[in-house]
């Protein structure tokens, strides 16, 4: 039995039946990482002791016939923007290369409390800024489906780890598409809950009003399992919502017949035709499942990218001010005075994309420009949110492509930041509106090398259960392999 390809439910059943131990599971996954990570480079840091200690505890529980927590023995990867006590947390930035946090992020704490084994920390774009994981301050991650291509980003390491069976599930962060887009490009399931659904405590901030923590899995059921564990009110995050968390896994089985699926025209412009074909086939399948597919308009979609890049850079310019070389992380030596130390530390510690966004954000918040940029962007954000609220008066869910293109070649877009920003064109709208979204595999491109295509499904605020139900029905009907 290949222990590295099991679903969470299979792991649970196998442990209870004593077909394998949690320790064997973790060791098998660590061995696979040992063999395959060299080519994929999904991980930045491994934490085998921590993973094994947890596994031994689970095995003790199995022997003592104690009840097993929901993620018992599940080997998971964590994006390196989530704080892990005693395990270095770099945000894939040179400026935090040696930073070891004294505390765990809430999502990490909840994963471990639910029995999961944390294998290590995954690569990403520096401070989650990027769409290809090439902006990592250390090295790019390769797409397991085609090693010459990017895995998407910024959570490319987590997506690649799950796609290559280097973890059963993973945590990522999504600010403008950073879970959904790499899920699409690597052919796995990735989900962002409603803003406030999962605590951000311990998620290193990029753009606080847009940042989400969310799961990657190989099946919708696995994603539902992980989301159920990490979701819910956290007193340490004032923006986390005090809304009850339903049992997502139980909700998967409910009927989808009669649900209304809105397909916004605006999301099908400038699309790679191959992607459009697959999404159409996916929609046909949904219709066959008894859902009512209908076109819908989302009038402010065109403004989303501009609006998003103003808000996220503004917040980033402030959030990243703390990396100044004074208290922790990298400090450039040899500066004559404080100013010089700040300048050199930040100049050498941050990569080009991070510096670009700090400069953009500083500019849009500057006195005299605030109204023209930041305030206006907030107004546009409200209009985009209204588009969604109005759409969900008419339909139950929205379906769009996740990414306009399949995985592109490493290096292909690095010299064209604007082109890179457009990779998020279908994902930023939900981020701005704060509604939940999931990307599920929707076949592969017709032409070689047959790259994964992702379908994005969006629902109204706190309607994750319905989102997962539709995704699950789609998966069970063979939607992941439409052709």
């Amino acid at each position: 039995m290949d222990l590295t390809t099991l679903s969470i439910d299979a792991i649970h059943a196998g442990l209870l039946a004593r077909q394998f131990s949690a320790e064997e599971l973790v060791r098998a996954t660590l061995e696979r990482i040992e063999r395959e990570n060299k080519a994929i480079r999904a991980y930045l840091t491994l934490s085998p002791e921590r993973a094994l200690a947890q596994a031994l505890e689970i095995d003790r529980k199995v022997r003592a016939q104690e009840p097993l927590p929901p993620l018992a023995g599940v080997p998971v990867a964590v994006k390196d923007v989530l704080s892990t006590k005693g395990v270095r947390t770099t945000c894939a930035s040179r400026i935090l290369e040696r930073y070891i946090p004294p505390y765990d992020a809430t999502a990490v704490e909840r994963l471990e409390a639910a029995g999961a084994s944390i294998l290590g920390k995954t690569n990403c774009d520096e401070f989650a800024m990027g769409s290809s994981t090439e902006n990592s301050g250390f090295f790019p991650t390769h797409n397991p489906r085609d090693l010459t291509r990017v895995p998407g980003g910024s959570s490319g390491g987590s997506a690649a780890a799950v796609a290559a069976n280097l973890a059963a599930a993973a945590l990522g962060s999504d600010t403008g598409g950073s879970i959904r887009q790499p899920a699409a490009l690597t052919g796995v399931v990735g989900m962002m809950g409603t803003y406030g659904r999962v605590s951000r405590y311990g998620l290193v901030a990029f753009a606080s009003s847009l940042d989400h923590v969310g799961p990657f899995g190989r099946t919708v059921s696995d994603v539902a399992r992980v989301l159920g564990v990490i979701a819910g009110r956290d007193a340490r995050d004032s923006t986390s919502a005090d809304v009850p968390v339903p049992d997502y896994w139980v909700a998967l089985e409910a009927d989808v017949r009669g649900l209304k699926v809105g397909v916004p025209d605006e999301y099908f412009n400038g699309l790679s035709p191959e992607i459009g074909d697959n999404i159409q086939k996916g929609l046909d399948l949904m219709a066959r499942l008894g859902m009512k597919v209908e076109p819908i308009r989302m009038l402010h979609t065109d403004y989303a990218i501009a609006c998003y890049y103003i808000i996220c850079t503004a917040e980033a310019s402030s959030n990243l001010a703390r990396y100044d070389g004074v208290r922790y992380g990298f400090r450039e030596s040899g500066a004559d005075d404080l100013r010089e130390m700040y300048k050199k530390t930040r100049d050498h510690g941050f990569g080009a994309e991070v510096k670009r966004r700090i400069m953009l954000g500083t500019y849009v918040l500057s006195s005299g420009y605030y109204d023209a940029y930041y305030r206006k962007a907030q107004k546009v954000r409200a209009l985009i949110t209204r588009d969604f609220l109005e759409a969900f008066d008419k339909v139950d869910i929205l379906v769009t492509p996740t990414s306009p293109v399949p995985a592109f070649k490493l290096g292909e877009r690095m010299d064209d930041p604007l082109q890179m920003y457009l990779a998020d064109i279908y994902t930023v709208t939900a981020s701005l509106a704060g509604v939940p979204g999931i990307s599920v595999p929707c076949g592969v491109t017709r032409s070689s090398p047959h790259l994964p295509v992702g379908m994005q499904i969006l629902a109204k605020h706190f309607d994750e259960a319905r989102l997962l139900r539709v995704a699950h029905a789609f998966e069970r009907a063979g939607g992941f392999e439409v052709a």
């Binding site: 004294p102 505390y103 402030s318």
Partner: protein, 491 residues
Amino acid sequence: MLSLTAISPEVLARYEAVIGLEVHVQLLTRSKIFCSCSTRFGDPPNSNTCPVCLGLPGALPVLNREAVTMAMKAALALNCAVHPRSRFARKNYFYPDLPKGYQISQYDEPLASAGWLDIEVAGKAKRIGVTRVHLEEDAGKSLHEGFPDSDRKSYIDLNRSGVPLIEIVSEPDLRTPEEAYDYLTRLKTLMLYLEVSNCNMEEGSLRCDANVSVRRAGRTAFGTKTEVKNLNSFKFLQKALAHEIERQIGVLEEGGEILQETRLWDSREQRTYGMRSKEFAHDYRYFPEPDLLPLVISEEWKEEVRRSMPELPEAKRARFVDQYGLGDYDAAQLTSSKALADYFEEAVRRAGEPKLSANWILSELSHLLKEAGKEIAESPVSPERLAELLALVAKGTLSGKMGKDILAEMFSTGRAASEIVAGKGFEQISDPEKIAAVGREIMAANPKQVEQYRGGKAALLGWFVGQVMKATGGRANPQLVQEILKKELGS
């Protein structure tokens, strides 16, 4: 520039100063504004810290409800409108003791605004507008001195990082350094009454900056203002303002222009000096704090706070006049601090005698406290003990003079009046027989004076009284002595 002394009073009189104060008050919450770390002053550096107030990556602020309650008390006492919805904002700037690179403050939607505080100018009330009261977090402290390598390094203590502050901004309604002093004094008294701050300027729990401009008397347009910082004592405030006003007048008289800038008061050199404007030409890039929800204050919460507010100085002063029959001046003195007013009321509750209590507290006790450099709260003589002493004085058991000596001894030894009286045979001699006997002895020893008295020199009575008091060690009841001597000498 004209030297300051060169500006004549006539020239000064042609100008009017316009002053507004920005006062930072540290709130007395037990924990910090956005985390549960202790706010205790004087603990070992960086011991009261956590990921939140250290600004570690990923940590998030959670608002302390008690800080809001205290800020609301201050705002309501300053007659401000407390807004049902206010918002936190980030004030962005780099400084080593500011761990996040921004301070969480309030900007365009403050907690409260449009209030006032009455001060007194030439015996009349003058209303000073309070523009706004808002909540914010304090920064840490940079330590540039006191370490072996202080010539090369600075140290940072983040215990203060995240301690709650309110900023109280006045309207530019103050016209003289004296008015500014009175405003700050009354503001401090109010905060102490509310028990929202200890307002200790040395520890930095009360800090004051001033916006100062001058204009020709009679004009209504404002002149260019400077911001004077570092006014961290009541004494400096007046001096610094007087200096800055004269400096500005000097510049204008010479035909110069006032530069809008930040100036620091240097108490050693007794002058303000401009800070390099480049260093302080900040664009703080305020924007709403996305990590905190808007602060929503319900009508119920506001009412609950209002109900929990103590009696404020003005109301207390009026009540002291009414209830205890005190004069305006005494009532104002006694209510100048809540601790003093409480002391007085406790003494009266036990001894009755409000007027006597007021006199003794404001003269004898205050004098002893001042000499010892102590505050009323630190008085070695408790109000209960003072009441006991005053009861003896009121009954006539002790003379005023004896009472004062005993109070001094109570103050220095911490013992009770009854103990001291018993131990020293301090009790007053009120037995007429005893007094008469002493009187007769003195008369026998001084026949010449007796003769002169009887010959019409009535003023000598005082001399005889003095002799009796001396002979009894001051313990004889002086009134009785006078009566008895009159009788004895007259016969």
